[in-house]
Subunit: 234 residues, 2 copies
Amino acid sequence: MSSTGRLYGLGIGPGDPELLTLKAYRILKQVPVIAYPTLENGKALARSIVADYIRTDQIEIPMPLPFSVERSSQPYYDQAAIKIAQHLTAGQDVAVLCEGDPMLYGTFMYLFNRLADQFQTEVVPGISSTFASAAMLGAPITYRNDVLSIMPATLDAETLRDRLSQVDSAIIIKLGRHFAKVKSILAELNLLDRARYIERATQANQQILDIKTVDPQAVPYWALILIPSQTQPQ
Amino acid sequence: MSSTGRLYGLGIGPGDPELLTLKAYRILKQVPVIAYPTLENGKALARSIVADYIRTDQIEIPMPLPFSVERSSQPYYDQAAIKIAQHLTAGQDVAVLCEGDPMLYGTFMYLFNRLADQFQTEVVPGISSTFASAAMLGAPITYRNDVLSIMPATLDAETLRDRLSQVDSAIIIKLGRHFAKVKSILAELNLLDRARYIERATQANQQILDIKTVDPQAVPYWALILIPSQTQPQ
């Protein structure tokens, strides 16, 4: 084991390059190999977040991943794991760049499940866009005995309605083309007045909009709705 | 406004000093005044996390806060806000140190509610112990359409049972003397085999224990139980 490389799942935060932790920054600077997911159009959000920190002599492994639910993602993850394993076996440390936190709805978890039993693995937590959004909105999320529910907008309407019908506070992520569905459920449950909308939290093009004025056709994947606690004790 | 100081809610993470963000580190280094909660015994976890980064010429405002639910905390927060406001009015920036993330069950939110409408305020998100625990446990939390519920163990048994009876994944925080109650509910709901226990995640004295061997009398406030997703797709 000692001559093989170490695998890092590196949480790099929601977008602002200053929201890397000191630890993620140190590891990013010292590893010889970095890997990161890329969209089909070649864009790589994770890489763009840390672009200023990457050295020219670092080996880069772009990992094309399917963001369409219609296709099985298994072969994509298998292939990425094989490439990463080659470097680890050759004794090189590899850092997988993870937007937000590696363990929450992340690409890294699929690599973790394939590689962590064969190679020394360290997960470095990152700032999640869920909580970063609360900071940007100036909206405390939960007080005292509140329960927080984090859920993806991709859930079917019935499940969303059921889960949202009893929340103290909630964060609904991955809005994209599911915005209209979510908005109508929030209206139904009298939650629309409490709902706060933010796109691309902490990124250079962050937008905070009144949820009632949002164009459903223009909502990106990286948008979320925060329903803060009503408790607000003194 | 321009001559008054700026208030920072500074997320400093769960314990490892390297889990500060680059941004929190920069602000901590540059502000003339820092404030942090202290327990009745004088201990200050937040200060101890960043002890190595504090300059000797920085003014420190310890904020004694009641951690007993029996007492009203309002006068404590009022008093802390008055002290902080004095420095802000005098044109000095003040950083309030927040364990974990400032907007999640945090002391800072009470100061935010008292001061943010009078002074320029910036909240810097921090690594929450909730997600950091998943990294330390090597346990992916949520996949795809999973809903994550974060809840305090201080809830009454009936509410806890109700909320836990339908979770995809859950994080139960603030265990302390509520451990036995939570464990028995998890057993009842057949969740005990999935439950992972961790104390003081990322702190120097972090402990990961088999939940079945934990001594209920020895569980600290900073302990939590993580119930990871069962989904685990390929």
